[in-house]
Subunit: 345 residues, 2 copies
């Protein structure tokens, strides 16, 4: 039971070399130039580090410097392909800069999200945060802004918040989607939105939908816009469809699904109940996923530039971290979506 297997510390390196740990630390942090350390000693130290398999203890470094080289990211659900693809993009990018990622799911629950934020910021001490937020108001994030804590909003934004954000043009996307439904002949177009309905992306999509109805002189009735609760999507979608499709009068003939989760539930319904799409019902969804490409019928969808969303988010965050942007006004990136025409409308 010797202590031989203990991991070497910076002190062990220093002692076995007969130098001070300051020196080792300098080498570790590439500050040999700055302090005019000779090439030879640098090499000697580097070799010893290699030889002993030394890796700096991040906890100690973190405690000392206050920097963790950790980025936190919170999304509603890391297993939703929309988010997992974005996260993957970000993972690759942060690695390049020596950072690492802690990704968490909020389940569309603001309270859970606040807890995650606090744990990431105060306990784990991440250096920055990327938020696809479920929060209602910017004020809930005031404590971050007050501390000057670097974070960016991704996908979803908030009113009156003074931080960088990146998202897509949801309103135009939804407008196009709805219009495509109408052009395909639908006269009675419902939208299946999702709750909480105050989420910026959803609000914009609802606006786009309503605008398209207006622009095409269709009945704009609030009773054609349904909010499906996130926690019970399938049941809720099924109930609504049961009702909407069995109405004697003015049964719907078009549906705009606000996201991929809802679309999948609708598709499940169409399958089970053998609803003919697009004959009986035109259909289009926001968020393009693999399923839409292969399904029968294939599903027209609004595609979002996932990797751009990811890379812009982390780019803006790094700009914040690098810092001299103190006074600059926060950037807001609004990326275009793309309508993918398929057979469902």
């Amino acid at each position: 039971m010797t202590e031989k297997n203990k991991k070497p510390s910076i002190d062990d390196i220093a002692k076995s070399l007969g130098v001070s740990k300051t020196l080792v630390s300098m080498v570790l942090n590439n500050k040999t130039q700055k302090y005019g350390i000779s090439e030879t000693t640098r090499k000697r130290v580097e070799e010893k580090i290699e030889e002993m398999g030394f890796l700096p203890n991040k906890a100690a470094r973190r405690l000392r410097t206050g920097k963790s080289f950790l980025i936190g990211i919170i999304v509603p659900d890391i297993s939703n392909p929309f988010y997992s693809k974005i996260i993957r993009e970000i993972e690759d990018k942060v690695q390049l800069n020596g950072y690492h990622l802690m990704a968490c799911s909020s389940d569309e629950d603001s309270e859970k999200e606040m807890n995650l934020i606090k744990m990431l910021v105060d306990s784990q001490q991440v250096d920055g945060l990327i938020l696809s937020t479920t929060l209602k108001t910017a004020s809930e994030l005031d404590f971050l802004s007050k501390r000057n804590f670097p974070y960016v909003l991704m996908d979803r934004t908030l009113e009156d918040v003074d931080v960088p954000s990146v998202g897509v043009d949801n309103k135009t996307g939804a407008y196009n989607a709805t219009e495509m439904l109408i052009k395909a002949g639908a006269k009675n177009v419902a939208m299946f939105s999702i709750s909480p309905g105050y989420i910026s992306t959803i609000e914009e999509r609802k606006k786009g939908y309503l605008n398209a109805l207006k622009a095409n002189k269709l009945n704009v009735k609030a009773d054609m816009l349904f909010e499906i609760p996130f926690s019970d999507i399938k049941n809720s979608v099924f109930e609504h469809l049961d009702e909407l499709l069995n109405k004697k009068t003015k049964s719907i003939d078009g549906i705009f699904a606000a996201n991929n989760n809802i679309a999948l539930a609708c598709m499940e319904y169409f399958r089970e109940k053998k609803i003919k799409v697009p004959e009986k019902l035109k259909f289009v969804s926001f968020d393009d996923i693999d399923v839409f490409h292969f399904s029968n019928p294939t599903i027209s969808a609004i595609e979002q530039p996932l990797s751009d969303i990811g890379s812009w988010s982390i780019k803006l965050l790094f700009e914040l971290l690098e810092g001299d942007s103190e006074t600059r006004k926060p950037v807001h990136i609004n990326l275009p979506t793309k309508f993918i025409a398929r057979t469902s409308c």
Copy 2:
């Protein structure tokens, strides 16, 4: 520019209460019972903590105790739905125990994986590791075992490794899949495997495939088993299919895809080239994903119990962490798969 906004430390709490930080620490760690701290002081401390919004600095705690309450998980690709669903399951479970997750992608690259392991273990000091490994031999992980570092193998296992593992019965799954192809009338069944081919799950699937051919007295020729490189799946699949389907003699009439990535590439080919499935070609895949359920045709697949894989993995890891199992033999969980019959075969 006052220092007011600085986060409170344990010392701040102690001072503002006129007690020692030992006391505060005890309260923080629920050791008031153990040390016989009075209920009243405990309450007083707790209230102050609440009032000042104090959260313990994990870096300091980590440095002091050597425990991070972090679990690392490495999979080939966190955006593959197979893994992202497992990770999600684990995320929920670790949270319950006060742990947090750092998930990383290895891209099927052993070197990258080794680097990730080192960074998670030595630098981030995660308390445990869940590995869906791309490594070739257990010996590469010897340094972990030697240190008695807690980790479990998930999905993929390694020969002669003395740690807990959880996976599914790949051989039987592949056997069933292949047999279904044969029962559906295929006489010339190819398998599209993936490289690196030494991965345990893939090896087992290959064995299952070959066994099924033998058991059904079909030609067992090595030239019907193809290894698709992970980094270039689509092109490789397309090339192989181009060749296999345009042979004058004994063209293939059945394909077993080793995983969902490969299956998607095949399906893409079928679409583009208008290959009739199952008429011209029977098809079945390992890994069930949403796409298979909705596609045209729907794709028969071997379903793996994702949430069980996740929950078993973290359960076994926690058993390791909780510790008194020193001498116990490591558990190996082998979960059953399920054949989902659809129209592709």
